[in-house]
Amino acid sequence: MSIFVDETTKVVYQGLTGSQGRYYGLLNREYGTQVVAGTNPKKAGTDIEGIPVFASVADAVQATGATASCIFIPAPGVRDAVMEAAEGGVTFVAVITEGVPAHDEAWFYNKLRRDFPQVRLLGPNCPGIISPGKCNIGITAGHITKEAVPGAKNVGIVSRSGTLTYQALYELKAQNIGVTTCVGIGGDPVPGTSFIDCLRAFEADPETHAVMMIGEIGGSAEEEAAEFIAASMTKPVSAYIAGQTAPAGKKMGHAGAIVSGGKGTAAAKMEALAAAGVKVGRNPTEAGELMVEIVKKL
């Protein structure tokens, strides 16, 4: 099985008619994702290589039965796009867009939680989600992943970083280890989906046997995840935290990757995870090797 999305997920792309939306929308379709629609209020009635374009998410849902949305709209329009998706009736919204203001994120996160509790938001500023062999929503390269094999020991991945996620997928594939779902939760201060949301779902998924977690400096999401793992997880977890040598007070590429007031350091996160029984690697390769060891012992 997979978490959050699978082969039945029907996706509408907000921003399909833009260059990024078109490029990745078509790649996702090529991968096998059910890319059922795009939106653009000015281009309703047209199509992108056979994918129909509608004026709004609501129209797309009505016509195609779309259940998920993937947002490639530029940052200034993301707040409205997220609300349009929720009001339009989809229950999964992945925001790939980078550079969304933190106040917008904080606002739509809380607005969704209150008025649309059935909607799962992923991102912003994330690579998306892939359930290998079933569904790829976002910008992950599908061919670097190995499908989960029924009966074998499969891994779930949750990560705040894009490229490090690709590396993890690639290394697991090289070791012939399948992945049920790989969730990129993104590098922003208010991610719609947290480590804990993913860990809980992986714990409940019978086909996932272990979880690999990639965190980074800033905030306390990894510490909260450690608490959850200690209290509620039976499946083994390996982890890597990027930014062990990052200076305090500087944003390291991602809006949320900053050590401020002595809080959010990699050392504190690694310590909390290790104390919760997580196998913590000092670098991505080591974390991958630890995961391979874990899977071999299962």
């Binding site: 203001p101 809380n110 690709y166 590396q167 201060p189 590429g253 809006a255 000092r282 670098n283």
Partner: protein, 380 residues
């Protein structure tokens, strides 16, 4: 983006948060002229983005023009913890009855806004939090609901501010909250928030950090970009549109992706070296980006070797390799490069690099091997 005190105060004034009349100046004559206009006594305050200005002699009370001239002369050009003072803020001196603290920021764990208010202002809030945590009244605010005057009133009572200034304090908090949200702040902090002997409440300092992602809706922020404290390298990277952070080590770093760039710093450290910078060159394989990235790093006198760490996802390794080869052909590099190229289409990429390999361009099969090699070259 962190603002200077004077920039924060100018924004405060626009949102009706009371501040003392003042002017920002860059030379001594202008300082005296400003003080004459404002009226003595004035405070001459060094504008640097670092704590401990007062202790370093960067804040002085001047009773007349002569004193103002002396202090402005001393403070302008002063070095405070590695920051040179280029601007002083001259403001009318205030009499102080009480010093409070007020701030708004985002609580990332709660995913809500977070306000702190304390009757013990004028010292670092971290110190108060450690020594007397009960002296800080904290509230969480749902961004959808916002903050009402009634909530502020309860908050002021909880913080045990002087009862006689409750109304004035509520006004300041409501205004500060509006500024925090509409001004797209990461942090809006007043420390100290003072009460004068005649019962007025106003901001004696301003610590403001803006969310760069919101720049598109604040045309006036372009002015703040011009006054950002950046070293030569950071300025060049900013102008080239690169995600760059200057560090003190000797191995220059280029990686595609913020997470990979951070982990590249980590492995260099684990290999016994130190990174000269963080640089995320992003997705894509644009030769131009590599040219500007390599130029900035190679111009850094600290740099002894350069580590390019690429993991191909959608962007294919071959395209990136072509970009790098083109870039290297265009610049005359002083430092040797070590490349690790992995992921999608990596083998083809390595083949493209092979004819160019030698002392100045080396390749390593893994991230750790590449780090060791780059560190070895940097310490040779």
């Amino acid at each position: 983006m962190d603002l200077f005190e004077y920039q924060g105060k100018q924004l405060f004034a626009r949102f009706a948060i009371p501040v003392s009349p003042g002017e920002a100046v860059t030379d001594v004559d202008a300082a005296v002229a400003a003080a004459d206009r404002i009226g003595y006594p004035v405070v001459v305050k060094a504008q640097v983005q670092v704590g401990g200005r007062g202790k370093a002699g960067g804040i002085k009370l001047a009773a007349d023009a002569a004193e103002c001239r002396t202090y402005a002369t001393n403070i302008l050009g002063m070095d405070i913890k590695g920051h040179t003072v280029n601007v002083v803020w001259i403001e009318h001196a205030s009499d102080i009855a009480h010093e409070y603290y007020a701030s708004f920021t985002l609580d990332r764990a709660a995913k809500q806004y977070f306000g702190m208010l304390s009757a013990e202002g004028g010292v670092e809030i971290e110190t108060v939090a450690e020594e007397n945590p009960d002296a800080i009244a904290k509230i969480h605010i749902d961004p959808v609901d916002g903050l009402t005057a009634a909530q502020c009133r309860d908050w002021v009572v909880a913080a045990q501010l002087d009862a006689s200034v409750t109304d004035a304090a509520v006004d300041v908090l409501v205004a500060l909250y509006r500024f925090y949200v509409e001004g797209d702040c990461d942090l809006a902090e007043i420390n100290p928030l003072i009460v004068t002997p005649d019962g007025r409440v106003h901001a004696l300092d301003a610590k403001v950090s803006l969310d760069n992602n919101a720049e598109f809706r604040h045309a006036d922020w372009a002015d703040y970009e011009l006054t950002q404290e950046r070293d030569v390298r950071e300025q060049a990277a900013y102008e080239a549109g690169l995600q760059y952070v200057g560090l003190d080590g000797s191995v220059g770093i280029i990686a595609n992706g913020a997470g990979l760039a951070m982990s590249t710093l980590d492995v260099v450290n684990q290999a016994g070296g130190t990174a000269a910078n963080f640089l995320d060159v992003g997705g894509g394989a644009d030769a131009k980006k590599f040219v500007s990235a390599l130029t900035i790093i190679d111009n850094d006198p600290r740099v002894r070797s350069i580590f390019i760490n690429i993991f191909g996802g959608i962007t294919r390794g071959a395209e990136v390799a072509n970009g790098i080869v083109t870039a290297i052909g265009q610049i005359d590099l002083k430092s040797p490069i070590v490349i690790r190229l992995d992921g999608t289409n990596a083998e083809e990429g390595r083949k493209i690099l092979e004819p160019h390999l030698g002392d100045t361009l080396q390749m390593a099969p893994t991230m750790l091997d590449a780090a060791r090699k780059a560190v070895e070259l940097a310490t040779r």
